[in-house]
């Protein structure tokens, strides 16, 4: 059913089938004493061990990092004894990791290399924005006037309440769910259950968004090793196929009539489903960008996990919790697992891979065959908020 369309002609380029064979994550938390290179090295070492690969077998690397130094891939890979091949560094806000993953996928699909590694890493506590909100760009008009990410999502939440009848309790419910999931994940930054009441009573950040509806600042890294399907079989009997990949930039803000909608997210999802040759109903689990709890409800609709306007019903039905019809963020999501900005786009892929292999432990999605990893990020004045969407669909 999910034979990869990569064997077909896509445009005029012959695309090879690509598999993920190794995944790894560093510890997630606040580690002001550790460098980004050390966190990245930990994730890469874990990914290499996961597939039993020698570091010298890697042929190409993409690394994503938002803050704040040059040559991240080089700095990370020297930690595991790897030097002297093509290394590319990318930045795409929260979609940086998804961008790095797609970069490696393209290199292998096009036949330039057989084995590559995607790395996402962020050391928030040692970055110039440690302990602060993500600052606006210099000369950013809205930034001068008080715009921040929480302010934006506070305004989005008000629209959800007005248009769809959402309540603060609904937003809290997303956070309760994802924190519960985080308790089942040994690698989560926060492994603590919260009640709706506790989420609502936590410090107010930007009404109606409270502290426990916001993702934390996190240091951490993730890595994924990809290779051509022929090479994959030398390393594993469980290659996970990349069947859909989409990366897209949004349009001017004046075209975004409804701030709850993500035109770029919707379009990227359609592209990914089309390429994968599957429908939203075929997806067994989703890892996505839940930087703010209310955001997750909107993204259900972008990904067509439910009909437009039915995101709230989907949440309230329990379908997106572990054990439900379509678990969303079984890892704990950004809310509980943590959100090292550029790492998250690789980390979401790693989580999907674990479920497709049946290795996700207490949070395992039963008999998962197809999973989707989504990232959305970037606030640029004049463009729709969440300006970059990256989506990957994987299948066993």
């Amino acid at each position: 059913m999910f034979s990869s369309p990569l064997n077909n002609q896509e445009g005029r380029i012959f695309m090879r089938e690509v598999a993920v064979i190794g995944v790894g994550q560093s510890v997630f938390g606040k580690f002001p004493g550790r460098t980004a290179a050390s966190l990245g090295g930990e994730a890469v070492a874990a990914a290499l061990k996961d597939c039993g690969m020698h570091p010298k077998d890697i042929q190409v690397a993409y690394a994503a990092r938002a803050y704040d130094a040059n040559c991240t891939a080089q700095a990370v890979l020297k930690e595991v004894g790897v030097t002297a091949f093509e290394m590319i560094n990318v930045e795409n806000a929260c979609a940086g990791g998804a961008t790095a993953f797609r970069g490696v996928w393209k290199e292998i699909a096009c036949g330039r290399y057989d084995i590559g590694i995607a790395i996402g890493v962020e050391s928030m506590t040692t970055s110039p924005i440690a302990g602060k909100l993500i600052p606006p760009e210099k000369d950013d008009l809205d930034g001068y006037l008080g715009m921040t990410m929480p302010a934006m999502f506070g305004m989005v939440a008000r629209r959800q309440m007005e248009e769809y009848g959402a309540t603060a309790e609904d937003f809290a419910l997303v956070s309760v769910k994802n924190h519960h999931h985080g308790c089942l994940n040994p690698q989560a930054q926060y492994r603590k259950e919260f009640t709706v009441e506790e989420i609502l009573q936590s410090r107010m950040i930007s009404e109606p968004i409270t502290l426990l509806m916001c993702c934390p600042n996190t240091d951490g890294a993730a890595a994924a090793i990809l290779c051509s399907m022929e090479v994959a079989r030398k390393y594993t009997t469980q290659p996970i196929k990349v069947i859909g990949s989409a990366l897209l930039t949004g349009d001017y803000k004046y075209l975004q009539k409804d701030i709850c909608a993500s035109p770029v997210g919707v379009k990227a999802a359609q592209m990914a489903y089309e390429m994968a040759g599957c429908a939203p109903k075929d997806i067994d689990l989703v890892e996505m960008h839940d930087a703010f709890a209310n955001e997750e409800i909107l993204r259900y609709e972008d990904l067509a996990l439910c009909a437009p306007g039915e995101g709230l019903d989907l949440l309230r039905s329990g379908a997106t919790a572990i054990g439900g019809r379509i678990p969303v963020n079984p890892s704990g999501g950004l809310l509980a697992l943590g959100h090292p900005l550029s790492a998250s786009g690789v980390r979401t892929v790693c989580e999907v891979v674990l479920h497709l292999r049946g290795q996700a432990g207490a949070r395992q999605t039963p008999n998962a065959k197809v999973g989707l990893a989504q990232m959305l990020g970037g606030l640029v004045t004049g463009l729709e908020h969440g300006v970059t969407a990256g989506i990957h669909i994987l299948a066993r």
Partner: protein, 144 residues
């Protein structure tokens, strides 16, 4: 000429040049206008002013002052510091009749709590002070 008995006059500087003006004749009211621009080819209006039309790539742009009033599209009360503002402070998005949505600080008015769809009016006032200067900009206030 400033006499020795007069206080030092604080300079008023706009937080950004060329995107709004205060009504000088009526300074006490704080009334003012946001200065957008309009594509001469297709008529699309932009705020802040655009260098060219992003829609049709028309290069000829004409000044287009916006209406004084619009409708509140959404709002929030921020409890974290941002820019030069000390929390708590309100911000919001206001839909103008010209088809543009403007982000701005909101000024609370006693007895008129914010709600989506309420009529808002642009005001020009101090945003913050910087050195010996009063930095002014636009905010929106519920219409009386």
């Amino acid at each position: 000429m400033a006499g020795p008995e007069e206080e030092v006059i604080v300079d008023k500087v706009p937080f950004k040049e060329g995107i709004f003006r205060a009504d000088r004749a009526d300074a006490d009211t704080g009334n003012g206008t946001l200065l957008g621009n309009k594509c001469a080819s297709c008529g699309r209006i932009y705020f802040p002013p655009a260098d060219f039309c992003f829609d049709c790539f028309g290069q000829a742009m004409a000044e287009a002052p916006l209406s004084q009033r619009g409708k509140l599209y959404s709002y929030t009360l921020c409890h974290m510091p941002a820019s030069r503002f000390k929390p708590p402070f309100f911000v919001g998005l206001v839909d103008m009749p010209e088809g543009v949505r403007v982000f701005a600080p909101l000024k609370a008015a006693a007895g008129r709590p914010f709600h989506i769809g309420m009529d808002m009016e642009v005001k020009i006032e101090e945003l913050w002070q910087e050195k010996d200067q009063q930095v002014i900009g636009y905010v929106f206030e519920p219409v009386k």
